[in-house]
């Protein structure tokens, strides 16, 4: 059987990540890379959409703290990710599947490295399980048969 290869969708803000690099080259290099303008634009529904379409994890790369071109977009994204992670955790989904990093790399060399790191982490977690309930659905053995005696 082929080894499980996790899929990671990476959103990165163009103001700090890879703006000096050739975008066409980077997008060939990094699978599912979506350069955007400001991470504050990323709604939780976009993250969910990525999951629905088959992503195992979502990585968001925003500008360094205090450096947002639009005042606080990176911080807005961070708050969303934090709240979403709490929801994921309570539903029984590993919070490691959504990650945000606020930093900067104009040449974009670190993007593929970070994506690779996340993929390795997700490979340890295994495939998306959805939630505990869906996972354990077909079990019937634990319930005793018959009417006691």
């Amino acid at each position: 059987m082929s080894q499980y290869k996790p899929k990671v969708v990476c959103f990165s803000c163009k103001f700090s990540w890879g703006y000096l690099a050739d975008e066409a080259y980077l997008s060939r290099e990094i699978e599912n890379w979506i350069p955007i303008i400001c991470t504050g634009k990323i709604d939780t529904t976009h993250i969910m959409d990525a999951f629905e379409k088959g992503a195992d994890g979502v990585l968001i790369l925003g500008c360094p703290e205090g450096d947002c071109h639009y005042q606080d977009g990176n911080y807005e994204a961070k708050k969303r990710v934090y709240l979403l992670c709490r929801i994921l955790e309570s539903i029984g989904i590993e919070k490691e599947r959504v990650k945000i990093e606020l930093s900067s790399d104009p040449e974009g060399r670190r993007i593929s490295k970070l994506v690779k790191e996340m993929k390795e982490e997700l490979a340890k977690l295994g495939p998306w399980k959805g939630n505990v309930v869906a996972e354990k659905m077909p079990q019937k053995k634990e319930i005793k048969a018959g009417r006691g005696k």
Binding site: D43, Y82, I87, G92, G130, V133, M137, P138
Partner: protein, 323 residues
């Protein structure tokens, strides 16, 4: 000319939706004159067996409320789908999964063990659990099989129209029924309620400050909420921004924040995720520790954001199609 046939049926439901149909008061007499009610388990004595010999599509409209969690509910839903031209998912449970959908946070085994073994009020020394078949005195007794999770109606059968709410308010019920009878229906798949968010029609909307910034999240019983001021501006979680309008603001009028029974607004699939976005953007916090503190102040975040919609959320749909 024969009157059009209408069926009203409950699946995994509390009966509140059937009550809501009765709540349209004397108008129901007019409806009863215009249509032939052929099934309404909660109010009239018709049997499922009287539906089975009918021709496909013989029923004009089936109004189905409640979610699907066992084999009987699935069978009834499929039977009505086969015999009906139109199926209306009625109420939050049928449309979104409803509050019973929160059971999806636990496994079936957990629930059975608690209900039949571990709950302090249970005395069950023989360890009896409900079985799908049991032999008593040589006779076979059967029960429906309980599924591993709760499903919204459209996970089981195709649904033509949706009318959310817990329960749906009388004015929308009347509008829906008259639209069917007069044939003035929107495209299939529509929700028969306004498309905007509740905040759009909320009287408290004017009271909200220009830039919302909340530093603490409070629960409604912990404070005396001002009846004229936006709940979110007071730091009380209200699902108005992510919830469809049309309920008549029954909760707002008695000073209780919105809990989201009308489900997501038009074009949104996952109301909980949308609400998380809205809530995050009005939190006025500066440091990581602050985010942590305020996020931990929210008791039961899933219960707040998915109170009526957990089974229809993307997080559940992703792997939850199988039974």
């Amino acid at each position: 000319m024969a009157k059009p046939k209408v069926a009203i049926c409950w699946l995994g439901s509390c009966g509140g939706c059937d009550e809501a149909v009765v709540d349209i008061n004397e108008v129901i007499l007019g409806v009863a004159k215009a249509v032939d009610l052929i099934l309404w388990p909660v109010a009239l004595d018709f049997k499922y067996n009287s539906i089975k010999p009918m021709k496909d599509g013989e029923i004009l409209l089936s109004i189905i409320n409640g979610d699907v969690r066992n084999s009987e509910q699935e069978e009834v839903a499929k039977l009505l789908r086969e015999k009906s031209q139109l199926v209306l998912a009625f109420g939050a449970c049928a449309c979104l999964g409803g509050t019973p959908g929160l059971a999806n946070l636990r496994t079936k085994e957990d629930i059975f063990n608690w209900v039949y073994r571990d709950a302090p009020t249970v005395v069950n020394p023989e360890g009896n659990y409900p079985q799908t078949t049991t032999i008593v005195n040589g006779k076979k007794l059967t029960l429906p099989e309980i599924y591993g999770r709760v499903y919204a109606l459209n996970d089981i059968i195709p649904v033509d129209y949706y009318l959310p709410g817990c329960p749906p308010p009388p004015h929308l019920i009347m509008a829906a029924i008259s639209a069917v009878l007069e044939g003035k229906l929107p495209p299939k798949g529509s929700t028969l309620a306004p498309h905007r968010a509740l905040c759009d029609s909320c009287k408290r909307n004017k009271s909200k400050p220009e830039r919302m910034a909340i530093r603490d999240i409070k629960r409604i019983h912990e404070v005396e909420a001002d009846p004229d001021v936006c709940f979110l501006a007071q730091g009380i979680i209200c699902l108005g921004p992510a919830t469809r309008d049309g309920c008549g603001e029954a909760c707002m009028n008695i000073n209780i924040p919105c809990r989201g029974c009308f489900g997501p607004v038009e074009g949104v699939v996952d109301s909980g995720a949308k609400f998380v976005s809205a809530l995050a953007s009005i939190l006025d916090v500066q440091s990581d520790e602050d985010i942590e503190r305020i996020a931990n102040e929210i008791m039961d975040p899933v219960g707040y954001s998915y109170r009526f919609a957990l089974p229809s959320s993307i997080l559940q749909r992703k792997t939850g199609k199988n039974k």
